[in-house]
Subunit: 443 residues, 2 copies
């Protein structure tokens, strides 16, 4: 608290946040290990207010002298800035949930060798089991985070967490056929990551992929896998539940709390403590107590996510969803671990009951979706054709629509779920949607 005391000489309120990140991993390219690497970064962010004027300083260090210097610089920055009349103060002391979180500290001591072996074994097995397969890309490694958030209102919270990951991107060539790239991945909060699930899933899909089918339909039953679902929701739904957008009136959910928005099969929450979460935080990036926030309960919209700033302005208060950008030092709003509640049917059984339809592994172009309306226009690739309960080949098609219409049309949800860390942080099942409009992609 020494540094906080020092900061109070210059500011009415001050926050000091220190982030340490360690990343060990291996990159795979064209059937070989292109490189392995160890990267470490320590960043301190000083955010102070004086007469409602903000001053921010970001430094790649946790050295006390550097932070003291940073406080002085932030104070000078603040002096020249304009008053923010909407500022209501940094958060005060919190009561943190007493979550029993099993952290696997052995992650931290995994060596690059471990991931090099994992990647090499996976590549050997893929090349052995399918002579036409080529591992085009991939990566494996771990990330470990240690964060400390302190402020002059009594917050001082230290947290650490992390996870391991493994993903591969495989292409098959047989005769004139080049398959779409087949991706699979695994993300874990422990060190028990193995090649098997990823290798088996990719090889199975690759078999279907050699058989390229046209998608000559304009409507279909569509089973969307977790990664594809995450891609779609990250750009359409996640922005729409951000409280800042409610205040600014740039979300279609602005005045719809309590309304039924989606199919009653859909329950969505932000849950940092879900068993698959790799960031089971007890506090957000401002030190506000994290919690499990239900966003949609059986299709009914329950409320927005807030940080302190926008939560204070709206009167709703923070929901513990303040997320810091390390490039600007500022606090935005985000989910810790967005969860769509899983269902109770096996994925194989869902596929088995589809007379005609498609399975979608990934989307392209989701980033150009419109968060103000929920409209999207994406390419399903790779996608697979299902006939009489079986996958019969790979295909590519366009899918244009609106996320609010789509999520009304839910037919089934799988009883399995997958941890995603690429498109936001979340845990998603597979969801079957009925009668979705699609269009073939012209080659």
């Amino acid at each position: 608290m020494n540094l906080i005391r020092y900061g109070e000489k210059f500011f009415d309120e001050i926050e000091i946040a220190i982030y340490r990140k360690r990343n060990v991993g291996v990159d795979v390219e064209l059937n070989q290990v292109a490189l392995s690497s160890l990267s470490e970064r320590t960043v301190s962010v000083i955010r102070g207010m004086k007469d409602k004027r903000i001053g921010i300083y970001v430094v790649d260090s946790d050295d006390e002298g550097e932070i003291r210097k940073g406080i002085e610089i932030a104070a000078k920055n603040a002096k020249n800035n304009e008053r923010d009349e909407r500022w209501q103060g940094l958060p005060g002391e919190q009561k943190y949930e007493d979550v029993s979180i099993d952290l696997d500290y052995s992650i931290k001591s995994l060596s690059p060798d471990f991931f090099v072996e994992l990647a090499n074994e996976a590549m050997r097995e893929i090349n052995k089991r399918d002579k036409n397969a080529m591992v085009a890309g991939g990566a494996s490694g771990f990330q470990w985070f240690e964060n400390r958030i302190m402020n002059s209102h009594g917050i001082d919270v230290l947290q650490e967490f992390g996870g391991t990951f493994f993903y591969l991107f495989v292409v098959g060539r047989k005769g004139n056929v080049v398959t779409p790239g087949i991706v699979d991945f695994e993300v874990r909060r422990d060190s028990k990551i193995t090649k098997d699930a990823v290798v088996n899933s990719i090889l199975e899909k690759l078999q279907y992929a050699y058989n390229v089918k046209g998608a000559n339909k304009t409507e279909g039953n569509i089973l969307i896998e977790p990664l594809a679902l995450a891609e779609l929701l990250y750009f359409t739904l996640l922005p729409a539940v951000n409280g800042e957008r409610k205040v600014k009136n740039t979300t279609p959910l602005a005045n719809r709390v309590g309304e039924r928005i989606f199919s009653e099969k859909i329950t969505i929450y932000d849950d940092p403590w879900h068993p698959m979460s790799t960031n089971p935080v007890i506090a957000d990036d401002e030190g506000v107590a994290a919690r499990r926030n239900v966003i949609f309960d059986k299709g009914v919209f329950k409320g927005f996510l807030w940080n302190s700033y926008w939560g204070n302005i709206s009167g709703e208060g923070s929901t513990g969803n303040g997320i810091r950008s390390l490039s600007t030092g500022g606090i935005g709003i985000g989910a810790h671990n967005l969860v769509i509640e899983k269902g109770n049917k096996r994925k194989e059984d869902i596929i088995g009951e589809i007379e005609e339809g498609f399975l979608i592994s990934a989307f392209q172009g989701a980033h150009s979706s419109n968060p103000d309306t929920g409209d999207f226009s994406v390419v399903a690739n790779p996608a697979f054709k299902i006939e009489n309960g079986e996958i019969v080949g790979s295909t590519v098609f366009m899918m244009s629509g609106n996320v609010y219409e789509l999520l009304k049309n839910v037919e089934e949800i799988s009883d399995t779920e997958k941890k995603i860390v690429m498109m936001g942080n979340g845990v998603f099942p597979d969801i079957l949607f009925r009668d979705v409009k699609i269009a073939p992609v012209s080659k």
Copy 2:
């Protein structure tokens, strides 16, 4: 050389490169200093070959123990990789040019305060001199680099260099008119950076910008400013002179060395030691002696840029243009400081002699140009209309064409030049092109 010796136990050849980068600066947003920051990064890259198998390890540290460990990991990576039969070896001992380069070491001790003051003074002056102006964004700071390249063939070279920068992005609002964003910037290899040039140039252009003119022409005389020129050439011409593309036959210049390609007014070279260069290196990222490479001499194509790998394959040898990617550890080909030779006419005089035409400050969309053909299709924005030798207002238009056609059509080149660091590294004058096809942008 201790570490190199250690590496030779594992590899036939080994290279160890250590990069230190220090970045101090301030970010400006909406008329205030959004943050100041100090970032430092040290990265070591180990690249070893054993039986023509490559192993690469990248670590965020220059600690000897970490580098030793990295050598061992890189060796394991190499073991599992495939032989690269085209590999001919790391470069051997070099004779470096005895360049007398004035480095301004005082840059390194500039504080964030210095840049905060600079930005605040500039914003105050802009808001005072033009009540309708708003500084939408900007940045100021310095970068300082210290690199050491060592290999087992006797290379051991240590270099340092850096520069200061200041840029602002200003929008004007008057009545119903919102001007395009007016950008100007300065990059220096010393610490004598001031607000004046940037502020004056922006305020002058802003005056013209309030007067919005249509671009109802299909052809025109066009004076392209340094930043816009850099944007265009970075995506069209720079890839075309990359030796790797010659070997792979993906450049329109593949078999045209010695041919006249451009107007004889055009001379282009890569010159790390140009008086405005902020990276006056004596060695490239493999330790090969850097040099001044003439690429086009009075319009005649003189040759490609090469690193060792592709230079060895082609038989041309390296031209000292090996550039390392710190994310992959690998060596590509690039320019240190691409220079278009300036002309001998004052920019004001060039404008003064244009009866009807346009001045272009920046392009949008240059990144979607086609480096295989030189085709581009860009939006000129901000651009200004010139009538009877005077700038009369701002405008926006499309410009589609081909860089090889464009650079045949050179009318005049200004006697002033500007250092660019955003789109590659280079020094560019203003160039007047005759009868360029343009098209209005529909609103």
